[in-house]
């Protein structure tokens, strides 16, 4: 009996691992001739790329050069994707949630140091951090501090696994930090900033592994009263006719997501020309218009499409907070504000 049970367990384990492996990377049909681009992207841009940008670029490339280009697409959590590329996944173009992850690729010698030396500083999409709430806003959520009120169930993913969660927590951290700096006219009251983070964290119901899962928990499973997320995630739901009401807090963070050509891969595949062209297409007016259809704000501040998006009263950037490296240490480092929420509990 024991052997039978164990064999059954083993077969199940094999079946499950097969299932997982099968989901790991999606790959389209590969044309035997013509150009091929391997795309290593973060999961949030999947719909925009798969359904709009890639088909449009294929047409554009054909008109321009007469050649066919096919794509092998892989979408994964930003951090996981960056680690995969850093340790050898030969994606030609990397599209990640934030520059912190892109820096990993620079350190691993996959992406050139000057990747952000172009017209858009390496950034291909903009968005802002917003709060989605239930219809009619029964809990009266308008700003970050409302997330700390008793009885408000909050959702954001785990910053250990999700780039989106880092944007979310950075937005709450940044708004409190800048407000505190403005009030004191100089040095911020870090204890008060940490306290807000702590009280919001205490209201968090569930920390999903990714931003996408967090949205699913909120809308499909009806969990929580508020979800902190990218604006484009909410606008995508609207496009799919599953709208979620949301507020743009008075002060919020500009989400700047980068893309770059992976040098080591294009040298191996000899496709630098088409990969560079694809990257340029993303920030072209046609590319930016398609991205705006999927809820991403244009990177060009002069773009007329920007008028369609609500304008936050105070919009700050990661540079205003000191840049990715500084925030990573100040918030998530061993003595960071977010980390100390939990280490204090251990005492």
């Amino acid at each position: 009996m024991k052997t039978r049970v164990q064999i059954l367990g083993f077969v199940t384990a094999m079946a499950i691992s097969g299932l997982v492996a099968g989901c790991g990377s999606s790959s389209g049909p590969v044309a035997s001739s013509g150009d091929v681009i391997k795309l290593g992207a973060y999961s949030v841009v999947r719909e925009a790329f798969h359904d709009a940008l890639i088909p449009a670029f294929q047409q554009h490339w054909k008109q321009k050069t007469g050649r066919e280009v096919s794509f092998e697409e892989s979408y994964n959590a930003s951090g996981a994707q960056a680690r995969a590329i850093a340790s050898g996944f030969d994606a030609d173009v990397a599209i990640l949630s934030h520059s912190g992850d892109m820096n990993q690729l620079v350190q691993a010698n996959r992406v050139a140091k000057d990747w952000d030396q172009n017209a858009t500083h390496g950034i291909v999409t903009h968005s802002v951090v917003v709060i989605g709430h239930r219809d009619g806003n029964p809990k009266g959520i308008k700003d970050w501090s409302d997330l700390a009120k008793p009885g408000v169930g909050v959702l954001y993913p785990d910053p250990k696994t999700s780039g989106g969660a880092r944007w979310n927590i950075n937005a709450i951290y940044g708004s409190a930090l800048l407000a505190s700096k403005a009030a004191s006219g100089g040095s911020p009251d870090l204890a008060a900033v940490g306290d807000l983070l702590k009280r919001v964290q205490a209201n968090v119901v569930n920390m999903d592994a990714s931003g996408r899962q967090s949205m699913a928990s909120f809308s499909e499973r009806g969990i929580g009263d508020a979800v902190v997320t990218y604006e484009n995630e909410i606008l995508l739901r609207k496009k799919e006719a599953k709208p979620i009401e949301y507020v743009v807090p008075e002060a919020t963070l500009l989400i700047e997501s980068p893309a770059a050509v992976v040098d080591s891969s294009v040298e191996k595949h000899k496709n630098r020309e088409v990969a560079t062209a694809f990257l340029a297409f993303l920030t072209s007016s046609e590319g930016q218009k398609l991205l705006a259809d999927y809820g991403f704000r244009p990177v060009d501040p002069a773009s007329p499409a920007l008028a369609e998006f609500p304008k936050p009263a105070k919009l700050f950037t990661m540079a205003d907070l000191g840049g990715w490296d500084e925030v990573q240490t100040a918030v998530y480092g061993p003595k960071g504000l977010w980390t100390s929420i939990f280490s204090d509990q251990g005492k």
Binding site: T12, A80, Q104, G153, V205, I223
Partner: protein, 280 residues
């Protein structure tokens, strides 16, 4: 639980026999031992201080405690209910018994992530059951009871399948003797039947405990994943890998591995002691 004994026969020193033994040993070494050695080596490579720092992190300690405590709660429930289920399956005849017997192995065939999803759908805060429980102040999903439920599901068959064969082979003469001497049904069970079942129950408990220590797929959906609250060790390890803290992930993995290995070794020694064939 009968241990598999080596059958000694003639002709086990020929070249094909040696090659077969070498191959299977090599296969075990390659598939099982080598990855463990790789983890152990890497986890300790940075020195004992780095290892200790990683293991003594308050979040890591909390995760380990939570993992062990939820596993132990599960084991207690599993052992009681599993023994009762095995008893019913062996001692009673009733319609639907065959179906019940077949259903018991089902948890092994369900992908653990599906288990998690099923539990969220059933007990989640917005489900009918979750709403009713919520009104009485119970939260199951995104709280510790959810972890125990998930562990109970994935380890459901272990206790039953350990006890059932022993009950089937049990010589009922002793029970009958006890009954003729005037012992009540309960006393007979307690004094006569249960002691013979103990080794099987311990085995079932050990197997479920070992299984629960590493459970990831179902727990990540139901636990809530909150540090110092509902983050079990496998979830902690996953988070540390994903956020680039390789040392923390490896060190805590090694502790978890040592725990599982400890359970397995204990079971092996225990079975050897109780096995009638070679219990001297």
């Amino acid at each position: 639980m009968a241990r598999v004994e080596t059958k000694r026969g003639g002709g086990d020193t020929g070249l094909p026999d040696l090659a077969l033994r070498g191959m299977t040993l090599g296969y075990l070494g390659w598939m099982v031992v080598l990855p463990i050695v790789a983890l152990g080596y890497q986890a300790l490579a940075a020195g004992p201080q780095a290892f200790l720092d990683a293991v003594l992190d308050p979040q890591a300690i909390h995760a380990l405690k939570l993992t062990v405590v939820t596993a132990l709660v599960m084991v207690v429930i599993n052992v009681v209910m599993g023994t009762a289920t095995a008893w019913v399956l062996v001692r009673y005849e009733f319609p639907g018994k065959r179906v019940m017997n077949a259903l018991i192995d089902l948890p092994f065939a369900v992908p653990t992530v599906v288990t998690g999803l099923m539990l969220v759908l059933l007990y989640g805060p917005s489900s009918v059951l979750g709403t009713i429980l919520g009104q009485y102040g119970f939260s199951v999903i995104y709280a510790q009871p959810g972890i125990v439920l998930a562990l109970l599901f994935v380890s459901y068959p272990f206790a039953i399948r350990s006890v059932q064969p022993v009950l089937l082979e049990l010589d009922r003469a002793e029970e009958e003797a006890a009954a003729t001497m005037g012992a009540s049904g309960w006393l007979t069970f307690w004094r006569v039947t249960l002691p013979t079942l103990v080794p099987a129950i311990i085995t079932g408990a050990g197997l479920s405990f070992g299984r629960a220590l590493g459970e990831f797929g179902s727990v990540i959906l139901v636990a809530g994943n909150q540090p110092m609250k509902t983050k079990t060790t496998p979830l902690y390890v996953f988070g540390e890998i994903e956020s680039g803290n390789k040392q923390g992930a490896m060190a805590v993995s090694l502790v978890l591995l040592a725990l599982s290995l400890g359970v397995l070794i204990f079971l092996n020694l225990y079975q050897r002691r109780w096995s009638p064939e070679d219990g001297h």
